[in-house]
Assembly symmetry: C2
Homo-oligomer: 464 residues x 2
């Protein structure tokens, strides 16, 4: 299998030639501010430190690999305490590159500890985790760049308390902190407790952090070839240098999406046809939503921009969403994400040969079935006049996944340039954070507490 | 805990009084064709056979419980082979009412077999399943109403072949079929093979089938109180009789969504604040999308209707989607789905008391934290002028879940009446099915094969 071949994109399904009048013309793409966007991307490369991650981590990778080898030898479980950008990347990479039922395999077949990524504060969930792991045989990796993420810090308080009850004051054998090298609470705590630390580099925001230690440690612990992941990302970085839109996969996809937004498509469905790629959609959903969902443009004008990402899974969601995708409004672009070859072949044996509705399947493989269904769904979506694009991995490998993740990151940055907004901040989450602090009585939030108290009472007529 | 209390809905967050000019007025609701929709719902009750499921299954429930008890005693694994409506309900109920890490618990703590719901044909997935189960210790429940679902039948061919190699020709001890009582291939196969069968009643479409044996068998096998589920659904049926819109939760929610669609909201986010409710969003996504995503209205006119469901999870997706929800376009309604009480309390212990950004959490519980975050996020969404509604379960139980599922079903049917379309068919999936048949060489699909062959070649300029 060609595990290091380039991934392909195909936007024919977005163009009028394929889908008719509701598709795009070449002019819809070329009349976007492409040259300015390429300029912006080049000018900001110095700030976009995530772009250098495939190139500048030689020593860090060696440290990660040594640390991972030690954890693989000593621990039954590896638990990530993190949320959002600290969780979605580790989940996506693990699902893509480890056995689909990795945690259920016997230890010898796994080769490394079970992986748990705890990205919620549901009290039932923490209790459920503690029902199935022995914390003395567990390494915890607490990840928060700022060190002030309430969800993660609440988990850390619970876990450190439990560990100290078992191990005494020094719990440094069971915790690794991944955070900013200088700023914030977590680095302060880790320093005085003597915990091993990895760093989230400056200029690498949460949703762009998968290819730094945030994502790489969990991947290495589970046996993923993290060097190949970075080499794949570097290959995509090289392809992303082209300023010919039609030779630059990340930027062409971005242009197609932005042009579709101008035609009223406020929804972007990412629909992998592989269980291994399922959680890439979740990771992408944060990247696309949080980067482009912005009230203000660079010039300070109100734009209320953003395209809502939707996660789907082929073929599963053909039986859930495709009715809507083919017969519903012309408000979405569907990106099919497929592979040329699966890593297993599963034949469909003969049986019930007298029943034609069943027997036509016999002698085929599930590989052929899923490939036919993807092609058929693309055809049906296009025939109904709805826009779609296709991304294809020759095979799912660390290298091709690295290409894919890096492509989505550059795509998002380029879309930010085309839309003339800041793709790297998230001012809209402050309001909710502050209200949470106020509700929990954190000092310094009296004004917000007063504001919440002053909110008009709900109308009982609208409560049943 | 009040496990049989009524669930509540609150649409204040949709109204202008709360969210300002982009919200709805009372007139936006009352000027919908409400009376006609109630008429339609009443007139079609005879056809909507899913509405009777809470009332007419006494004997079936007894059979299901006896069968489940037998399976619980004999098998290590219970595998559902099904997709779409045959899978999403079983997954949602299991996640809601069983331990959050059920499959990982030791057998004694589980009390029943592990559950696997196989709703895809990814060849890697079938191989992964077979790596972790011993099929001789596994009961398979193949579910397809029509008996011609290619995905499910391909799985059945693989599994029956393996079982026969282990057990000989008679594999009836290891398979239960859930299908139409008379029509289709599966009932034919089950009959001649002597398999135990349960039936999907006439007039109960896939996405409305969770409360018939499609969903109830897996639930009972995992120890869910299926009688309580049905009693809860019956309680919601009673509440759904009211023709006062403002006393009928299902219909008021439907009216609010349809009115929001008229104001340009083509997206409906369902965001549970409980890991247990996570997959209710997936189940709901099929129900809402497939029922209302329709090209033609009842009068034959082209309407291209449909509101795209989006799955989110609180608090996790606050760190992924809330930036978009508060600062992005006014194109969505967010329905928060919460609980008054979680089934566990998880205290946050003291620690790092000298760091105020952390120590304010100490002494609280994760229960308080997640509740504060839900309230804060609702506040932030409303303050930004975006519409939201709230559904609250007093506690997550079989009874309240039964209420919730039934409410969503009636809500969907009522929305279909308001939109004057057929909420119970899915004509848009035929095109893709036929193209799949053609691509796999099924006899009788020559015309489609010719159509596919005649499709214009893709333009290589749009492939990179």
């Amino acid at each position: 299998m060609q595990t290091t071949q380039p991934i392909r994109i195909d936007i024919n399904g977005i163009m009028q030639e394929t889908v008719g009048p509701r598709g795009l013309t070449r002019e819809d793409l070329t009349t976007l501010p492409i040259a300015a966007a390429f300029e912006g991307l080049k000018a900001k490369r110095g700030q976009m430190r995530w772009r250098e991650l495939p190139h500048n981590q030689t020593e860090i990778v060696a440290d990660l690999e040594a640390t991972a080898a030690d954890i693989r030898a000593k621990f039954e479980n590896f638990v990530v305490l993190g949320i959002g950008g600290s969780a979605l990347g580790p989940i996506a990479v693990h699902q893509a590159l480890c056995h689909l039922r990795y945690n259920e395999l016997p230890a010898a077949k796994r080769g490394g500890p079970r992986l748990y990524v705890e990205d919620n504060v549901d009290p039932e969930r923490m209790a459920a985790l503690l029902d199935v792991i022995d914390i003395e045989k567990t390494m915890f990796n607490v990840i928060t760049k700022s060190g002030s993420t309430s969800e993660t810090m609440s988990q850390l308080l619970i876990i450190t308390d439990l560990l100290r009850k078992k191990l005494g004051e020094d719990i440094s054998t069971h915790i690794i902190a991944t955070t900013d090298a200088e700023k914030g609470n977590l680095i302060k705590i880790a320093g005085r407790e003597g915990w091993k630390t990895f760093y989230v580099p400056d200029g690498v925001g949460g949703r762009f952090s998968e290819l730094c230690p945030v994502g790489l440690l969990a991947a290495a612990v589970c046996g993923v070839d993290i060097r190949a992941l970075l080499v794949g990302a570097a290959a995509m970085d090289a392809r992303s240098q082209s300023e010919n839109l039609f030779q630059n996969p990340a930027c062409l996809l971005a242009a197609a999406q932005v042009a579709s937004m101008r035609k009223g498509c406020n929804i972007h469905v990412l629909m992998p046809y592989a269980d291994g790629l399922k959680y890439v959609s979740d990771w992408y959903a944060q990247l696309w939503a949080e980067s482009l969902g912005k009230r203000y443009g660079n010039d300070g004008s109100e734009i209320y921009a953003g395209q809502t990402p939707v996660k789907a899974l082929g073929v599963t969601d053909q039986h859930s969403q495709v009715q809507l995708y083919t017969e519903g409004p012309f408000d979405k672009v569907i990106t099919f994400l497929g592979v040329d070859e699966y890593r297993t072949t599963t034949p469909i044996p003969a049986g019930y040969l007298d029943i034609p509705d069943v027997s036509f399947l016999c002698g085929h493989t599930q590989n052929e079935l899923i490939a036919a269904e993807q092609a058929a769904t693309q055809y049906a979506v296009g025939k109904s006049g709805h826009m779609y694009s296709v991304i294809t991995l020759p095979v799912l490998s660390a290298h091709t996944l690295g290409q894919l993740l890096y492509m989505f990151e550059v795509m998002t940055a380029f879309a930010g340039e085309l839309l003339q907004l800041n793709a790297f901040d998230q001012p809209g989450v402050e309001e909710g954070k502050n209200a949470t602090y106020a509700l929990l009585g954190k000092p310094g939030y009296d004004a917000m507490r007063a504001e919440l108290a002053a909110a008009p009472a709900p109308n009982p007529a609208y409560i049943i």
